[in-house]
């Protein structure tokens, strides 16, 4: 049994579970890196996401928003396959098609703390589980939504 993330990564690599169609059929729990969305002059948060060739991941696949609000994601598809992204958004999910070697900007509204899913689920011929990512919104709910009670211990 591995004890650290580095050991885990090495073991997964040695087995070939971090590549398409090497050990298993797809990439085990595929994910790319982590990036912090940054606030632009327009007041919106911005992040870039790339789809590298033959890895079946969004990179980064974890986007951290320091607060709730509007997030503009700029996608780049560097893969020789078509991909897509269904994104969470208050009102309706957003669907962004990402043809081979394409770029696109999509804006979503996520106004509350928590972790949201995005993925390539709309593309019927995407391999295996497809691409998956998470958008983590930090921060707290507004004061008026909190309970009137003394501060409580958190984990």
């Amino acid at each position: 049994m591995t004890t650290s993330e580095d050991e885990l990564s090495a073991a997964v690599n040695e087995l070939g579970l971090d590549r398409q169609n090497k050990a298993a059929l797809g990439r085990l729990l595929p994910h790319g890196g982590l990036a912090h969305a940054e606030e632009g002059p327009d007041g919106r948060l911005h992040a870039q996401v790339r789809i590298p060739p033959d890895e079946l991941v969004y990179n980064p696949s974890i986007i951290v928003m320091p607060r709730g609000g509007e997030l503009e994601i700029e996608f780049f598809n560097d893969d020789a396959n078509d991909h897509s992204a269904i994104l969470p958004n208050n009102g309706d999910k957003k669907l962004q098609w990402l043809p081979v070697y394409s770029r696109a900007k999509v804006t979503v509204n996520l106004d509350a703390p928590g972790t949201y899913w995005f993925g390539s689920g709309a593309l019927g011929n995407d391999e295996g589980r497809g691409l998956m990512g998470a958008i983590a919104v930090m921060g707290d709910v507004p004061e008026e939504a909190k309970l009137d009670r003394p501060d409580q211990p958190r984990p």
Binding site: F75, F76, N77, D78, I86, L87, P88, N89, N90, G91, D92, K93, K94, L95, Q96, W97, L98, P99, Y101, S102, R103, A104, V106, T107, V108, N109, L110, D111, A112, P113, G114, T115, Y116, W117, F118, G119, G121, A122, M132, V137, D140, V141, P142, E144, A145, K146, L147, D148, R149, P150, Q152, P153, R154, P155
Partner: protein
């Protein structure tokens, strides 16, 4: 090498890639408080959660009746599956009570979904989906119990504890107010209640050690008018029922996750409250723990609690009392009926909360006993760490949140019953905000369980009973056609003779029932709307059925046209 990129097509709203119309007739523009007050004078509609403020879940519609119900058949089905990751991944369930206004149906689903449908054809008119974090803490399922409508708006709550107002004609967001703290384990699943110019909503999350509350918001602006906590702070009335040397009150529960009823003459809203926290470990909260497991009568003008009645003082069995408070009059008395999780049927004087009668309605009740005067004798309770304790009813209750109905025509109550026990092993837990705070390990009996639909008169006397091999946990609907409708966990949807309990009709919907069906008519034709989809806290109310078929379908039944054997035919125009 620098990649030359092509510009991808612009992002789309996902619903635009469907046959959704995008617009509904503006039928809610004229829905006023005055119309909701007289909701049962327009029986073709189902304007508010229970059909009327009285909580009876009764419709006078009688086109479908004991003489012809055998011909009842599906008119249309609306389906919508889950997409991607969502909170409580395996627990989503279709639990709502469809609201119908002049041919348009308003429905909520799991994961922030709200729809307007053509009530005659099932065509999707518009769709709204609030973005819900998949790590939203949920005790009991990714569910929502429905909307309220008034003044051109559709009101709903979201799992992450917002109340939203949508344009009833387009589904577009008008206002959005957070009213709970997801980091404190709060969520929201309740169907809102419109009273006067306010929309009243309750909180969920009693398994996470928070403090229950009701909130009222202005229909037009979304400004909060008041908040009513269901657990008092130190020094407030009722605080003497909590320890005075700890924060137990601040984690005391008493959440308000099922819609209340309303008496406009008395100007009182009657709302049930949930279990105290932690659910099973009473040692950290000595006392009666008001106003948990209670009916609170609240002045809707200011949110003040006028009177209360507690059904299970110092609960250590998870006996929430959120379930419906049915208002009815008998011999010129203004009464309130309530079937509690603890297995007893209570009738109160709704002017002041005085007990009129209390009778058991479930076969096996071992946790304790309540005498005719309402005195509680405790018999079995978890007291020692690690010691198994078995009792009936289990923590899902002799009746779950799913509703009983009352027919003023037969003057009988119709109640779904769960006869299921459970073993609790006390496991004390240090409180940490946002983490489950049960205080026990829970094992609900998977054998030796059963269920009923029972007809009970206002004195508590059983008039008829229909037995089932599994617990009954779907809301009952009573109609002027002398029919009682109720679904089974195994997918069957049933119609009974309201007078005799004879099973007259049955249809297999393919997934279990845990919702609140309603009835309405369009162009003179009566329909029965039945959300199906097995989920939520199944291991509690449907033990042994965790692996039963899932589903997300709304079935709508009607009588076929004369000379037709079914509803297949030319497409609707």
């Amino acid at each position: 090498m620098t990649q030359e990129y092509v510009e991808a097509p612009a992002a789309l709203d996902l619903s635009s890639q469907s046959a959704v119309v995008g617009q509904a007739p503006p039928v809610v523009e004229d829905v006023t408080y005055e119309r909701i007050l007289e909701a049962r004078t327009e029986p073709h509609n189902w304007l508010t959660y229970y059909g009327a403020y009285n909580g009876q879940r009764y419709s006078p519609l009688d086109q479908i009746n004991t003489e012809n119900v055998q011909r009842l058949a599906p008119a249309w089905v609306f389906q919508f599956g889950p997409t991607g990751l969502h909170a409580g991944q395996s627990t989503y369930s279709f639990e709502c009570a469809p609201i119908v206004v002049d041919g348009v149906m308003y429905v909520t689903g799991w994961d922030g979904l709200v729809w307007a449908l053509d009530a005659k054809t099932g065509q999707e008119l518009w769709r709204y989906q609030h973005a819900i974090p998949f790590d939203t803490p949920l005790c009991c399922g990714n569910v929502n119990r429905g909307v309220a409508v008034a003044k051109g708006k559709v009101f709903a709550v979201t799992l992450n504890a917002h109340v939203i107002a949508l344009d009833a004609a387009t589904g577009e967001l008008i206002w959005d107010k957070p009213y709970g703290d997801v980091r404190a384990g709060e969520s929201a699943t309740v169907a809102p209640l419109v009273v006067k110019n306010l929309v009243i909503v309750g909180s969920s999350g009693g398994e996470f050690g928070n403090r229950g509350h009701l909130d009222a918001f202005d229909l037009d602006t979304g400004e909060r008018a008041w908040r009513c906590y269901t657990v008092p702070k130190p020094g407030e009335p009722g605080s003497e029922t909590w320890p005075d040397d700890s924060d137990a009150w601040a984690r005391g529960g008493g959440n308000t996750w099922v819609t209340g009823s309303y008496d406009p003459e008395l100007n009182l809203v009657y709302w049930g409250t949930g279990n105290p926290g932690p659910d099973f470990d009473g040692s950290v909260r000595e006392g009666d723990n008001l106003y948990t497991d209670s009916c609170i009568a609240v002045n809707p003008d200011n949110g003040e609690i006028v009177w209360h009645y507690q059904f299970t003082p110092h609960d250590v069995w998870d006996y929430d009392s959120n379930m419906e408070m049915i208002l009815f009059d008998l011999l010129d008395r203004k009464l309130l009926a309530h079937f509690d999780k603890n297995g007893y049927f209570f009738v109160l004087d709704r002017t002041n909360g005085e007990l009129v009668s209390v009778t058991p309605f479930s076969d096996r009740i071992t946790w304790g006993e309540i005498d005719a005067n309402g005195n509680v004798t405790r018999k079995v309770e978890p007291e020692n760490e690690g010691e198994p304790v078995h009792f009936w009813p289990g923590p899902a209750g002799a009746k779950e949140w799913t509703h009983a109905a009352y027919s003023p025509k037969t003057q009988l109550f119709y109640v779904p019953v769960q006869d299921t026990g459970a073993t609790i092993i006390l496991r004390q837990k240090e409180f940490k905000e946002g983490l489950p705070y049960w205080g026990a390990s829970v094992g609900v009996d998977k054998i030796d369980m059963q269920g009923y639909v029972k007809a009970i008169d206002p004195t508590g006397k059983e008039v008829w009973s229909w037995f089932n091999e599994v617990p009954m946990c779907s809301s009952v609907l009573a109609t002027g056609g002398d029919l009682v409708f109720v679904g089974e966990p195994t997918g069957e949807y049933n119609a009974f003779n309201a007078h005799t309990g004879e099973l007259l009709w049955q249809f297999q919907c393919g997934s279990g029932h845990h919702s609140a069906p309603t009835t309405y008519s369009v162009d003179g034709k009566q329909y029965i709307a039945v959300p199906t989809g097995w989920g939520s806290w199944v291991e509690g109310f449907g033990p042994g059925l965790v692996g039963a078929p899932k589903g997300t379908a709304l079935f709508v039944f009607a009588l076929p046209e004369e000379g037709s054997s079914g509803h297949a035919g030319p497409p609707a125009q």
